[in-house]
Symmetry: C2
Subunit: 550 residues, 2 copies
Amino acid sequence: MAFSAYDASLAHMAAVVGPGHAITDAGALRTAETATFLTHQHVPGIIRPGDRREVQECVRIANRFRVPVYPISSGKNWGYGSRVPAADGCLLLDLGRMNRIVDFNEELAYVTVEPGVTQAQLYDFLRERGSNLWMDATGASPECSLIGNAVERGFGHTPYGDHFAHCCGLEVVLPTGQVVETGFARFPGANAASAYRWGVGPSLDGLFSQSNFGIVTRMTLWLMPAPEYFQAYYFRCEEPEDVSALIDALRPLRLDHTIRGASHIANDYKVLSALEQYPWERAGGRTPLREPLMREFRRELRIGAWNGSGALYGTRAQVKEARRLLQRALRGIASKLQFLDDRMLRVASAFAGPYEMLTGWRLQRMLALLRPVYGLMKGIPTAHPLASTYWRKRTPPPAAMDPDRDGCGLLWASPVAPADGHHAHRLTALASDILLDHGFEPMISLTMVTERSLACVVSIAFDRELPGEDVRALDCYHDLMQRLASDGYYPYRLGLAAMAGGEQPGAYSDLLRDIKDMLDPAAILAPGRYVNTENVASETVHTLVTKVSS
Amino acid sequence: MAFSAYDASLAHMAAVVGPGHAITDAGALRTAETATFLTHQHVPGIIRPGDRREVQECVRIANRFRVPVYPISSGKNWGYGSRVPAADGCLLLDLGRMNRIVDFNEELAYVTVEPGVTQAQLYDFLRERGSNLWMDATGASPECSLIGNAVERGFGHTPYGDHFAHCCGLEVVLPTGQVVETGFARFPGANAASAYRWGVGPSLDGLFSQSNFGIVTRMTLWLMPAPEYFQAYYFRCEEPEDVSALIDALRPLRLDHTIRGASHIANDYKVLSALEQYPWERAGGRTPLREPLMREFRRELRIGAWNGSGALYGTRAQVKEARRLLQRALRGIASKLQFLDDRMLRVASAFAGPYEMLTGWRLQRMLALLRPVYGLMKGIPTAHPLASTYWRKRTPPPAAMDPDRDGCGLLWASPVAPADGHHAHRLTALASDILLDHGFEPMISLTMVTERSLACVVSIAFDRELPGEDVRALDCYHDLMQRLASDGYYPYRLGLAAMAGGEQPGAYSDLLRDIKDMLDPAAILAPGRYVNTENVASETVHTLVTKVSS
């Protein structure tokens, strides 16, 4: 009985998706069970449906046998759990084969995609068509799913950086196998289905982000017309506490849309980890890297305690005026404010030496870092930031990076603060202290993700191959999350390690549970992902899996 | 038994809110039952809770006696049903007394309000504090509730025009009487509760807009920092079909944020109705006003078939560049492109005669119309547009206008189209034909409410005191709504007359009904409002009310 539920559902699902797409190979399963931090969840099988109908069939089979399924789009949820399910014993529903670009409109600037469509795929699609539209990209990797990131409410670096604010028309397979489309998309022939978010009646889009209420099998993403002119800017602040004045100076420009994109401000540790691996030799083999040595690196590499980047988009006159306002706002607050456009970047690359002499800027070294960040602000995907997951490794990153496979340790905590200098400083100082106390380098970035808020990302980078480090890193993570919450800084997104806690008891968690129970009576969809429930299926399954794996 | 359910619940609610706030006076009830079009719903009583706790108590009493309640904020839902409940026999829960401004932050540019806070109240609040922040205002009236409009996803005229896109942190009384707060607001001491919309986990805000899933008792509204410089623009197109090229010319500017506000384009009928009442004499007492006579008015009043207005916000240099881009885009497409700022408006008012001579613009007459529209683009509430509801009346609007009381007939249909010239023309031509066929003037506006969409508002204005006109207007409305939907233009918002239809059967309506049944098992909250249900309470009540009123 115990075995037959999995066997039977796998057999039925294999009949739906084709035997080649029902995977129980031990190596593949172990890969699916591996994240960039310690997890215990077992994955008894991987199912790769090819279209929405197959997803529906699989979900119906899951209900019939009460076996939980866990959808992933590309599974590149680095730092938050990669492709590992939130609960033990879930069949992984890998939507990667569903990679069609279903609709595209140059004039209204949108594209409708399936969950398997990656950042690189959309980028190539737009370029091949000679489109004048830019996508937004995250730094995670070119192979990331667009929908996967949007439903996690991830963010990128262009004016369309708040991904879930720039999409509409979700097609969702509910846990029962029924399909709904949100907004106007539910009506036949609705002309504004991809142009207008709300539709009519209650707006349901939000239900299907950061939840286990449904499987998004299609979504419209809005794209940004390429500006006539683009100019990136870079600046730095010398001391950690300068972040306070900096945020207060930038906020008015973000609020009045002079800065339309999501300005990105990284601390010294974050920049160093993007440039190099851990300086084992100079640190005498000891960790963490503490302030005195960090100060040396700041001086040598000419990086600040805080290092900002962002971009200005518009006509030449619009950019010129934005530049004037930015210069005025940062005067006396940030130093080395530099601007860079396509022409200058070409020149700089060609004549890095003389340019360096003229500007006093160590261009050669910085160009390697700048180029991917510059591209991200134009929505060009890059694998570059992945390299920093190898920070604590003793060998350099391989050509084909795979943090999961290579035992790179990475835990991301992402608290949100108001776009207010006092909060920016309090939050980052607190996070820095906690990480150093636990023996990790506080790599921190602040992104002005909306007009009023900062998304802070704190990376705990470690070497999973070092004995005990997995546990030490998780201890640090939990301590960090708890102390940030005590101070009122709650995360915009949860990693697997934080989901186990669940909502605090109360009316809100009751409401979430009631919605979950109503939508998913058999609790077969992604149990434990953001929303907990009475969880009949996964409890059953837990017992089963214990048997299977023992 | 039949009578006692109402009597008992009214008595219990009166004990909660105080006897002076439980109203059963026949005149007050008749007022509550009166909209700007034909309705049949009876209102057996009005309850005016003073705070959230009293709302919770009333909802619990409603559950106990299975008597439906229907919340209104200010009840100024003109054209869509005023304060009349969607179902018969609902106790009106009038939230007007809950009018506290709970929180305000000048730096982060937000305000947290209760449902009774009106546009005028917030405007005065900001002015009294010497705040540098602008609110967004609708043209409905200064006495409109901010929350009421936001949860209906109404729109105004500034860059913050899409109201539901510029709010967060909802406090909601659920139909069971429990309270939830959305986003980070549910966590104790969350610093970003009013600054960041999504919070963590599923985003529930959308559930409580255009629905009967809960009563919003508090909400944070984002405000816009006043720009250094403001300039309004006006233009016109001569022929109805010019709207096509016009929208295609404006769309790129809206997409690239050169135009940040919601440009507003009104047809000739709409402008005429804002300037004057129906020209009974010149039309020989006949309706509708047809093209030949309309053409005369266009010539005399120097109005176009389409008349656009909008505004540019920024520094002087930013506005100057936006102005150049707008002039370039509209060249050969629109005529009489005029710009107006505060100084010019003062000068124009003082020297209207000479200015008129110089510019060839009939300024005297237009200033009366321009001033309120100009103010709306700065977020200044106005009662002026209300006057047009008296269009078909034979007597002028009174000083204290009240369309419900005065028998003004108004039905608003508000289809959405993509921001595409072809659609703009097809939609407006179709609406025009339908209204004229039914004997009404097609007063139409198009608002570029988001980067990719047009909110079209079609007004059916009539005189309710004319026998048969109520029915003729509703016939026209239903014909219009149905034919627009057949052509793929669905409304962004429903009036009472459209709610009766309910969702088309299918997975989506099943989902809405399941959510409703789960949240409101006794079906006591606003039955029939956007979402239908098995509706136990209101069926019971229907029987009761028939008895009461017979």
